[in-house]
Symmetry: C2
Subunit: 149 residues, 2 copies
């Protein structure tokens, strides 16, 4: 059993730094890293509620509530009432929010593809397949990757 954590820690840190940089360079200081995660996740899910996104990101709901308010005030997120349950708020990106999310997405992808371009075609495909494999395995695991509490 080698030290697996090492590799993940480094990868994770690098990706985090990259994301932060992209986040800055795309849209100035308009959105923080956590806010970009929120935009990302709203864009990925289908008509998500507040809970859905907060759970997916493993964020405390009260902190999340405030971040959503900030993003809504900035005009990047729209909060709509659930049609049949008035307690629930459905989140969606506004056109401006989508623009920001797309800009970040493009920049991150460009950076990552730049890194991947230094590999052979075979290596590149192996790497991508591996990450998918690992994500699937994480998904299957019950004990880990469950948001705290």
């Amino acid at each position: 059993m080698e030290n697996v954590r090492n590799m993940f820690q480094i990868m994770s840190r690098n990706f985090g730094l990259l994301s932060e940089q992209c986040c800055d360079s795309c849209c100035g200081q308009e959105v923080s890293l956590v806010q970009s995660h929120i935009l990302y996740e709203i864009n990925r899910q289908h008509n998500p509620s507040m809970q859905d996104i907060a759970v997916a990101l493993g964020m405390d709901i009260t902190t999340f509530s405030r971040q959503v308010k900030t993003l809504a005030d900035k005009g990047f997120i729209k909060k709509s009432p659930h049609p049949s349950d008035q307690r629930i708020t459905i989140l969606s990106l506004t056109p401006e929010g989508l623009t920001v999310e797309n800009a970040i997405n493009l920049t991150v992808n460009t950076q990552l593809n730049g890194v991947l371009s230094t590999m052979s075609e075979f290596e590149r495909e192996t790497v991508l397949r591996s990450i998918q494999l690992f994500n699937d395995a994480m998904q299957r695991s019950a004990t880990c990757c469950v948001p705290p509490k």
Copy 2:
């Protein structure tokens, strides 16, 4: 060009959640996630200065300085003067700090190995080799993974 960010984003988030959980379960509220990163990095480098660690983690030096103070007060870190340059502070883990770091490391590794154990031997090796490959490629890249500013 597929959406590479997706995979990394998910992997990174999962690993982050896992680390946070491990951090909690190992040592209660004794150390936060960022503090665990600091312990990790000090343990990895050889006689690192404050700058070394702050840069490696992409942290603002002033925030870092305070976190180091907190960890030193908790007795997990020792600050020693550099032998030939009095401006520099060399960081090291105390025995207690090392114990905490080892506990976190063990827990994270155990969790990760649990996830990996659901794969075939071949898949597992491919995944680990891939991550190493990717980290190396990140290392080579000049444009990305450079701490902001």
